[in-house]
Amino acid sequence: MRAALVLAGYALVVAWFLPRPLARLTGQGASVRPGLAAWLSALLSAAVSAVIGLQFLIRTAIAGWPRLSEVVCRSVAGSACTRAVYGSAAFELGVGAIAMAATAVALVVAWRCGRRAQRARRHTRAHAEAARLIGKALPGTEALVLTDPRPIAYCVPGRPAAIVLTSGVLEVLEPAQLDAVLAHERAHLARRHPVLVSLTRGLAAAVPVVPLFAWARAEVARLAEMSADDAAIRVSGRTAVITALIAIGTGAAVRDDSIARAPAAVPRAAIGAAGYAVPARLERMVAPAGPARQAWYSLALVGLLAGMLVLPGVLAMLAG
C-alpha cells in the first residue's frame, strides 16, 4: 500500500515540477530527438505510475474494504495509527471518497481522450479527402495546390497522407525553398509527428489543470518542427530552409540569402526570442549550438529519460 502512495506522489512531482526544468533543457533545440523522447517519457512515466498506484488502491479496497482504511492509516502514520483513528466513520468515509474520486477522474480522462482522438481522426480524414478532391496536383511532386493568396504549407496525416500548398506560398518561394518546405512536410509524415502532436494536444485539452500536459503540448510541437527542419536542411541545405521560413513568415519572397549566412558571430543572447517557436527555430538554424553543447544536452536528456523510465519500478519495489 505504501508503494501506491509513493507512486502517486512520484506522478504528481513529474506532472507538476518537472516541466519547467525540462523545458529549459529542450527549449532551444540543442538536442532535438532526445528532447522529444524525454517529453514522451515524462508523460509515460507519470501515467504509468499513476495507473499502477491507482490499481494498488482499488485492489486493496476490493480485497477487504474495512482493511483499506487501516492500511492507508498505517502506511501514513505508522504505529501512531490506532483503531480509534482508522475505525472512525469520518476516516473511512474520507479514504473511500478519495479512492472513488481518483477512479472517477481516471475514467473521465480516458473517456475524454478517446472521444477527442476519434473526433480529430474524423476531421483530419475529411480534410485530407477534401484537399484531394479540390486541390490540383503540383507536377513532379505529391503535393496538392489550393488557390488562395495567403502563403500556407502543411501536411495532413492519413492513408494516403496529403501535403497541401496554397498558390500564395508558391508565389513567395524559390525552387530550392519549395524543396525545403516539401522535405520538411515529408519528414513530419515519415516521423509520425502528427501522432505525437495529436496525443499531447488531446491530453492538454482533456485535462488542462495538469502542467505537464500543457507544457508537453507546446514543447513537443516545437521540437517536431525543429526535427523536420533538420531533415529539410539535410535535403536542401540550411540557406533554403531559413529563407523559406522567412518568406512564409513575412509573406514576401526572399531572394537575398545573405541573411542565412549570418555567421556564428550572432550572439545567442542577442536574439533572445526563444520563448516563441518560430523565432527559436530561426535562431537555432542561423546560429546552431556547438558540438560540445549539443553533446552535453543529449547526455543530460538521455540520463533524465532513462531515470524516468526506471524510477517508477524502483520506487514500487522499494516501497512494496
Partner: protein, 127 residues
Amino acid sequence: MGLRGFGDLEAVVMRRLWDHDGPVTVREVFEELRQDRAIAYTTVMSTMDNLHRKGWLSRVKDGKAYRYSAVASREEYSARLMREAMAEADDTEAVLSHFLAHMDSAESDALRAVLLRLTRKTGENAQ
C-alpha cells in the same frame, strides 16, 4: 493521365460535376469520361454513389435514373479548408502540421525583431 486509384477517380468526377451548370446523370458523366480513358459504366456509378454517401453530391430521382449535383461549389470547399488550415491549433479538430504555425502578433513582432538584428549584423559584416 493514368488512373492512380479510386480516390483519383473521385476527384475527376467531382471536377466534371463542378464544370456542369445543372444536375447530370451517371450516363452523361460516363459518356464524357469515356472520351479520354477506358472506364466501365458501373465504376462511374459506384464512384458517384460513394460521393453521394460521403456528402459531396446530392441527387434527385428523375424517372428511372438519378440526377447528381455538387452540394457546394469548389470555391466554398476551398474556403472551408483554408479556414480550418488558418485556425489556431486549439480551434480546429483536424491535425495539420504546418511548415509555419499560426503566429500571434507578439510572435510576429519577435520574428521581425530577429530578422532586423540578423540583417543589420550581416550588413555590418559585409562592410
